[in-house]
């Protein structure tokens, strides 16, 4: 076959894409091409995908406005989900409370004061049922931010969907399930790294065969950045973790093109506008090259990095919180110009508490302004070809490659081993803490200005913003509810299911998903399933370092 020039190839792919019916032009009527650049240059949808994973990008489909929500009981969060759907949000994203994230039940003594506070409390299948009541799980995609107990929560989700008549094969969504960054940054871990990775493997293998529409892992830089890393560290640690999961699945015998298309990424959108855009462009390019050259991927889908973006929580200030709307808008625009597939915008009050409904609505409106008023989504990779952005993209890639070399060295030729060793030796954690301290030093030295915090303080004494109050009532309600579920369930069935789980956990080659789904159906609690596995796997303890 005669090879066409990149423009002609792109044109062919673009013409084969479904395109939204809209007039793609400027406000003053100047018609806009789907992309600009030299005919023989890289186009969107072309390896190494610097300019975007798809030929048509937002001309086919705008990014998914996926707002993260969850608080109180499942019934409360179900209401918020319905509000989001009514307000035009088109994907759900579930925040779980701290006890759930750590695999503890609401009645565990360690859960005191934390139930339903940072997210929704889920103990049993009964809570999962309330969480998604009157929401068609076959119709909407659902993202679940959960890591250590990811396999347990996925099992409960499958059990709930199937009891509502939606087969698992129809379920679309994403499980965060990125345990490596938990040890590195977010610190919500339960089992030791290697045992956790077995569960990651089980979910990857299970979803690869049974849930074709499901994203098994969302490889997350967001938390790494929030914990204080630089942009290049966020990029490199995240992709490094991604390579580790690829090696893990390959070791389990999964062909790379069978699971890699279901991997997705999650990046931060911080306030340094151009650096963020360069980071997203570099991420796509690096992933494509590594997947093809190091891991032998042949399917395009395996090489195309797709990602979710969330604006930077750490960039928000408690002082003059309304200004956070502006910060968030700039960050969100960086995500869009960088070609994100979905986006969460933070609310202005989140330096103080979980968002009020009004603050969350303004945050969603911010995305809608970008999507529908600015015309910023008409042209793919609008900053491609900028001398500045191209150079910054190259520099991001160079810095990331330096870090990959270090990880590879720690793992003696294995990124998987390098990531685990780096965690065990506190290498990632130390680098993140160093970068965080450097930013703080620059702030205290006045080298880094934060409006309303170390400069432009007039207005800091204005009236207090109304914030969301979560009372201990929710904790009490949730404990009572759990007690009722425990009373009504068949204890013999629970004991049998947990017994099977323990037996299978001992066998490293057995996939634990079927046992977890059966235990969920018997109304075993998250805590019971996690404790059963901890009995076999042990628990991880981090050595405290400053």
């Amino acid at each position: 076959m005669m090879s066409m020039n990149p423009r002609a190839e792109w044109k062919k792919a673009f013409d084969e894409s479904r395109v939204r019916t809209e007039r793609f032009q400027t406000m003053s009527g100047i018609p806009l091409e789907p992309v600009y650049g030299p005919e023989d240059g890289e186009h969107p949808g072309q390896f190494p995908y610097t300019r975007g994973p798809y030929a048509s990008m937002y001309r086919s489909k705008l990014w998914t406005m996926r707002m993260f929500a969850g608080f109180g009981t499942a019934i409360d969060t179900n209401q918020r989900f319905k509000d989001i759907i009514r307000a035009g949000g088109d994907g759900l994203s579930t925040a779980f409370d701290m006890p759930t994230l750590l695999g503890l039940d609401s009645d565990d003594p360690m859960s005191l004061g934390e139930v339903g506070r940072c997210g929704v409390a889920i103990d049993t299948l009964a809570d999962m049922r309330d969480l998604f009541a009157d929401i068609d799980l076959g119709d909407i995609t659902t993202s679940m931010t959960i890591n250590s107990p990811a396999a347990v929560v996925l099992a409960m989700f499958v059990a709930q969907a199937e009891s509502a008549g939606v087969p698992r094969a129809r379920l679309g969504g994403t499980l965060q399930n990125d345990i490596l960054k938990e040890y590195q940054a977010q610190k919500e871990f339960v089992f030791p790294p290697r045992q956790s990775m077995r569960l990651v493997r089980d979910t990857m293998a299970f979803t690869a065969t049974e849930m074709p529409r499901w994203h098994s892992i969302s490889i997350s830089g967001y938390h790494i950045r929030e914990a204080g890393s630089t942009a290049a560290e966020e990029l490199a640690f995240t992709l490094g973790n991604g390579f580790a999961y690829v090696e893990l699945a390959r070791q389990a015998g999964l062909p790379v093109d069978a699971f890699a298309p279901r991997l997705s990424f999650f990046f931060n959108a911080h306030i340094d506008f151009f650096e963020e855009i360069a980071k997203y462009r570099a991420a796509r390019r690096i992933w494509a090259r590594w997947m093809r050259d190091r891991y032998g991927a042949t399917s395009e889908r395996s090489m195309q990095l797709r990602f979710h973006t969330q604006t930077a929580g750490v960039s928000l200030t408690a002082q003059q919180p309304e200004v956070n709307i502006v910060r968030t808008a700039i960050e969100a625009l960086a995500g869009v110009l960088g070609g994100t597939q979905s986006l969460h915008t933070n609310s202005m009050d989140e330096a103080l508490a979980l968002p009020t409904e009004k603050a969350a609505r303004i945050a969603l409106r911010t995305q809608q302004v970008i999507a529908y008023e600015t015309n910023a989504a008409h042209v793919a990779d609008p900053l491609g070809g900028s001398y500045f952005v191209e150079e910054l993209t190259d520099e991001m890639e160079r810095r990331a490659e330096e870090i990959f070399s270090r990880i590879d060295e720690m793992g003696q030729g294995s990124m998987l081993e390098g990531c685990i060793t780096g965690i065990e030796e506190n290498w990632f954690q130390g680098r993140i803490a160093d970068s965080a301290y450097e930013l703080e030093r620059a702030f205290n030295a006045g080298e880094r200005i934060v409006v309303g915090v170390n400069k432009f303080l007039e207005g800091n004494d204005d009236d207090d913003l109304e914030i969301l109050r979560i009372t201990n009532e929710d904790e009490k309600k949730q404990r009572e509810r759990l007690a009722r579920v425990k009373q009504d369930r068949d204890d013999g069935a629970v004991a049998d299911a947990l017994d099977r789980l323990a037996k299978e956990a001992i066998e490293p080659e057995v996939n634990l998903m079927p046992a977890l789904i059966d235990a969920s159906r018997a109304y075993a609690t998250v805590g019971e399933m996690m404790n059963t596995m901890a009995g076999v796997f042990g628990r991880h303890v981090e050595v405290p370092t400053i």
Partner: protein, 140 residues
Amino acid sequence: MTATRVLVAKVGLDGHDRGVKVVARLLRDAGFEVIYTGLFQTPDTVAAAAVDEDVDVIGLSMLSGAHMTLAPLVVEALRARGCDVPVVVGGIVPPQDVSDLEAAGIAAVLGPGASADEVVETIATAARGERPHREATPHR
């Protein structure tokens, strides 16, 4: 003069440790002797560590919203041990909660955006057994 000894602690399930580590380094650089408990401590383990280490002040880092429940329990656990070490809370604490925390025996609250100087001054003042002269919280 011996250095002021400060215990910085994470209590409860909150794994966000950026703040506690930055504050620990700030205090260390300002000449304090800093002891960090690590994650997932209970009010009891924090109180026990404070007594064992004979510290002058405790800094609790709390970002999960559980401060209203857990911070007073730390004070109670200390007092139950006959220990009157002052406790400073820092993190995501809405201004509306500050007076209740102070009523529960918390010496001072450092909200989001506190500068290094404010952190050091507040901890030092609390360690001397004084109430900070002004509201240390750089909230609005």
